[in-house]
């Protein structure tokens, strides 16, 4: 459903992405790993419209999106989380989820002014859905807390919930487990697998190899902006190029 062809992103003299070809099929969890500075975040930025490739094609369900605006891409069904959390800090957890549903609503200002029935019904529906999501991620108790004052772990989960609130078909996660301990990481992995089972496709960037092995169906390895390997987790684990560039000698793997 997501198809990248010869995507290149140049920053001045630096080629952050060079001729990247990548596919995410429906209902798959695709991992994207690679050394720091390899271009993973840049790739995600390009897919979500915050950045645009210098050349190449990005298609989502057949529609080219490499020059599209971010809100347009979200409407098509791509959502993401960020490497550094970007919640709406001075809004409550619930409000964050209402904003997540922005594209799925139609209510106009006029409707709000007229107290129209459609408006009220839609608001009601959005709130219900927001509560469902909060409940699902164990955030119901903090529904009315400002996002900025939530503990780190809650913020991560809220960000995930907010992405899901946009009702995406493809979810992009940029280092979702950063700052989590192995136990918490494992729990997150379970949650992500459930999402996949509900039909979501997922592109996940991670450094935690245990997590990658836990969730990924296939993995792309990026190094200096180039895809150097693509395969199943087992294939990747023993790929000498990947070991050389990324994993290091396999004596103690990763935690």
């Amino acid at each position: 459903m997501l198809h990248l062809e010869a995507v290149t992103r140049q920053f001045g003299g630096l080629k952050a992405l060079g001729n990247v070809n990548l596919d995410v099929a429906k209902g798959r969890i695709v991992g994207l790993i690679g050394p720091n500075g390899a271009g993973k975040t840049t790739l995600i930025n390009c897919i979500s419209g915050l950045d645009h490739p210098t050349s190449g094609v990005i298609q989502f369900e057949g529609t080219p999106i490499h020059n599209a605006e971010p809100h347009h891409i979200t409407r098509l069904g791509i959502a993401r989380t960020y490497q550094n959390i970007r919640l709406f800090g001075r809004m409550t957890a619930l409000e964050n989820l209402l904003i997540g549903q922005h594209t799925r609503g139609h209510g106009s200002l006029l409707g709000a002014v007229m107290f129209s029935r459609a408006f009220r019904a839609e608001e009601q529906g959005m709130r219900e859905r927001a509560r469902e999501l909060l409940n699902r991620f164990g955030l119901l108790p903090v529904a009315n807390t400002h996002a900025a004052s939530l503990p780190y772990g809650d913020q991560r989960r809220l960000e995930l919930a907010r992405a899901i609130a946009t009702q995406p078909k493809l979810l992009q996660l940029d280092e979702p487990t950063a700052g989590m301990n192995p136990v918490e990481t494992h729990a997150l992995g379970e949650a992500i697998l459930t999402l996949r089972d509900e039909g979501l496709s997922i592109l996940v960037v991670e450094h935690d190899m245990a997590f990658i092995h836990q969730v990924c169906d296939e993995i792309y390895v990026l190094n200096f902006g180039q895809i150097i390997a693509h395969g199943t987790p087992t294939e990747i684990k023993s790929d000498p190029a990947v070991i050389e560039a990324y994993l290091g000698s396999s004596d103690d793997g990763a935690a």
């Binding site: 975040t41 930025n45 915050l50 950045d51 960020y82 490497q83 550094n84 970007r86």
Partner: protein
């Protein structure tokens, strides 16, 4: 076209004054990330204290000038303590810091006005003539006329920029200023006394602003509590044009504004000289939002 050279001279000498004012503005902005709109009051302080010393206390200029600059420096430090530090410590929005500087400016200007009345019987006073060389030098061959004090200001402005640039980019204190500018907490962890850096920055900016105000007074003789307002907008435009927070940018911005004004007048558009300035500013900002010399924000998603 024989007035072209003269217009170039005009633009340069006007630009020197604009730049001098803009420098202090830029210095504070580069450290605080906040516009100190009270810098125009600091500017006025320089002119005011200089005039007081020369006109009422009969001091020679070489005593009055440094004292005026230092007085302006202290007013600037006071601004830091009263209008900025409390807000910063509270983590208040940049906008409220901007407004508190407006409040402080209002206060200083009004206090100056209170002082003017008994001193000079109104709100207007004048430097005596002939304190500085203001008789033009005539270069017949080029039919050029150059007023020496204007050239002195030009030299001072250039020298100050070089000194400041050196200070900020090459010295330890400059490095500390930039670290503080990035993030106070991080700077403190690097062993930098953040409070001292702020005070120093404001003092330096005050010295610059005071010098600018004094020179302005000496060139144009006329001093009122409101002279700062006349340059505030121009100074603002200059630093934005040059790139906020860039010292070189402030200098170039000042000259650029002067040049645009001068040449739009020269081609008969005196009505629209400021419209041209803002029009170009507009276009520039759209093409290069960080200004000519400004750095784009080096942070990433």
């Amino acid at each position: 076209m024989d007035s072209f050279l003269q217009q170039v001279v005009n633009a340069v000498s006007l630009g020197a004054i604009y730049s001098l004012f803009a420098l202090g503005y830029a210095l504070v902005f580069s450290i605080l990330g906040v516009l100190n709109l009270a810098h125009s009051a600091v500017f006025m302080t320089g002119a005011f204290v200089g005039l007081l010393l020369v006109d009422k206390l009969h001091q020679p200029l070489w005593i009055a000038a440094p004292l005026a600059m230092i007085a302006a420096g202290f007013v600037s430090i006071l601004l830091e303590f009263v209008a900025f530090r409390p807000l910063r410590q509270r983590g208040a929005a940049r906008m409220s810091q901007l407004i508190s500087s407006i409040g402080a400016a209002l206060l200083i200007v009004n206090l100056a006005q209170l002082a003017f009345k008994p001193l000079w019987g109104g709100t207007e006073a004048y430097f005596p003539q002939g304190l500085v060389p203001d008789q033009p030098i005539v270069i017949e061959a080029l039919s050029l006329r150059i007023v020496p004090i204007r050239m002195i200001i030009l030299v001072i402005a250039l020298a100050l920029v070089i000194a400041l640039q050196y200070l900020v980019m090459r010295t330890r204190i400059g490095q500390q200023m930039r670290a503080v500018a990035f993030n106070q907490r991080t700077a403190a962890l690097l062993g930098i006394n953040v409070g001292r850096v702020y005070v120093l920055t404001f003092f330096l900016a005050g010295l610059l602003g005071g010098a600018a105000g004094l020179l302005y007074g000496l060139v144009f003789l006329n001093v009122t509590p409101f002279i700062g307002d006349d340059v505030a907008l121009v100074g603002l435009t200059a630093i934005v044009l040059g790139g906020l927070g860039s010292i070189n940018g402030a200098l170039v911005g000042g000259f650029l504004v002067a040049a645009i004004q001068t040449f739009s007048i020269a081609i008969g558009g005196s009505n629209y000289k400021n419209a041209v300035v803002f029009g170009l500013l507009f276009v520039l900002l759209l093409a290069r939002p960080q200004g000519l010399f400004g750095q784009s924000e080096s942070t990433r998603a």
